[in-house]
């Protein structure tokens, strides 16, 4: 079964660069690797000289890349919901429901749900073809809580569907029709529950799945990263390491930069203290943004040692 690795952290800390660098070292080590990017601003096309798409594209020997466009995935997710609902509502009703769904497109949780749905698909359907799945994102807060309390979904769905069951069965009884009609909504929800359960098995198994938190040596990222680790671990997800990215190198050009390097020091120490029981990797700030695979070599070298999955006890 594939092992999956998720690089989490706030925007701009270097998740995509780290994930790409790590995926490259996996491929070089001989693992059949899939890199998944959800970063809409990534420059993977520049790095690989080829534009990745929503299906796996072979970029290097042993390395395929998929790009998940959040807007695209949200639209696809909502269209799927509409297709499921359509046969169940008529005319006026369907206009109200579809209008509501279009409003949902911009609700904060919808994109997270859509991306997680795509992620589940990759884990369950695409994953088995690879040895390593590397993601430049980690499951969001809502998803993480749901993974810890899957019963919530049962309570919610059963509670809302109960009344409908009663109405339907009465109607059927009145018609004298004893046949059980498949409810496509119920089917879709049961299918999703099953897939979430399977994904949860994988994600909460430290032998198969791990999170790497990427931080920059500044106040806000340092504090957030510790909080994020607590949230993930409280909900059954294993955090394997912290990557402290964009550390100003010792050989800096000016007093001005030396000052900023000094400002970083306490935050590097803080992070290394919070993560004393985990692997800490420092990565130096590079002279420019990565424009080629070679530019990622220092990152690959620093990260290549990571094997954060726990062996079976």
């Amino acid at each position: 079964m594939a092992k999956s690795l998720f690089f989490g952290g706030k925007g701009g800390v270097g998740k995509t660069s780290c994930a790409t660098a790590y995926a490259l070292s996996c491929a070089n080590a001989g693992w059949n690797t899939l890199l998944v990017s959800t970063d809409p601003a990534h420059n993977l096309a520049d790095l690989f000289g080829r534009q990745p798409g929503p299906t796996p594209t072979r970029m290097r020997p042993g390395l395929d890349v998929i790009e998940l466009d959040p807007d695209h995935e949200t639209k696809r997710y909502l269209d799927q919901v509409k297709d499921t609902i359509k046969p169940m509502v008529s005319g006026e009703r369907s206009a109200a429901v579809f209008r509501q769904l279009d409003l949902a497109r911009h609700a904060p949780g919808t994109e997270e749900a859509a991306l997680f749905d795509a992620l589940v698909g990759l884990l369950l359907d695409t994953g088995p073809h690879y040895d390593r799945l590397i993601f430049d994102t980690a499951p969001g807060g809502h998803t993480v809580r749901l993974l810890a309390l899957p019963e919530i979904m049962g309570v919610w769905v059963d509670g809302l569907m109960q009344r409908r069951h009663k109405v339907r069965s009465d109607y059927k009884a009145w018609l004298g029709d004893g046949e059980v009609v498949d409810d496509p909504i119920q089917e879709a929800l049961m299918r999703r529950r099953g897939r979430l359960a399977a994904a949860r098995e994988h994600l909460t198994c430290p032998a198969h799945s791990a999170m790497i938190l990427v931080a920059n040596p500044e106040r806000l990222p340092a504090l957030e990263t510790a909080r994020t680790r607590d949230l993930l671990e409280a909900n059954g997800l294993h955090v394997g390491a912290v990557v402290i990215n964009k550390c100003l190198p010792t050989t800096v050009d000016s007093q001005w930069l030396a000052n900023w390097r000094e400002e970083q020091r306490p935050w590097i120490e803080q992070l290394e203290t919070s993560f004393a029981d985990r692997t800490c990797i420092r990565i130096e700030h590079q002279p420019h943004a990565p424009a080629s695979i070679d530019d990622l070599r220092p990152l690959s070298d620093a990260l290549g040692v990571l094997s954060p999955w726990q062996a079976h006890a």
């Binding site: 909502l78 919901v81 499921t84 609902i85 169940m88 509502v89 009703r93 109200a96 429901v97 209008r99 509501q100 769904l101 409003l103 949902a104 609700a107 949780g109 919808t110 997270e112 749900a113 997680f116 749905d117 809502h142 998803t143 809580r145 749901l146 309390l149 919530i152 979904m153 309570v155 919610w156 769905v157 509670g159 809302l160 569907m161 109960q162 009344r163 409908r164 909504i185 879709a188 929800l189 999703r192 979430l196």
Partner: protein, 98 residues
């Protein structure tokens, strides 16, 4: 009318009264039962309202976005609820059940 007829009429009248008494007692019993059921349903509605709108009350609902297929049911139940509460139109701008 004969004495026998009188007696028959009298006992028929008595039977009707007893029957009405029993029916009345029955409806009292079932009214109690119905009240309990109604109370239970209202509790269910409270739970339903809580689940639907807990986001607004500051309680996170991680599941709602993954169960959008339930919208038709939510719209129906919310619509019934606001009508029961005496609101002829939907009180929420963002939730158009009617």
């Amino acid at each position: 009318m004969s004495r026998a007829d009188d007696e028959r009429t009298a006992s028929a009248g008595w039977r009707t009264r007893v029957k009405r008494l029993i029916e009345g007692y029955d409806s009292v019993l079932s009214l109690q039962h119905r009240r309990e059921i109604i109370r239970e349903l209202q509790d269910e509605e409270d739970l339903f309202m809580l689940l639907c709108f807990c986001d607004m009350m500051g309680i996170p609902n991680p599941v709602g976005d993954m169960t959008l297929e339930l919208y038709p049911y939510m719209l129906d139940r919310f619509h019934e609820w606001h009508q029961r509460q005496g609101m002829p139109r939907s009180p929420l701008d963002g939730f158009r059940c009617c």
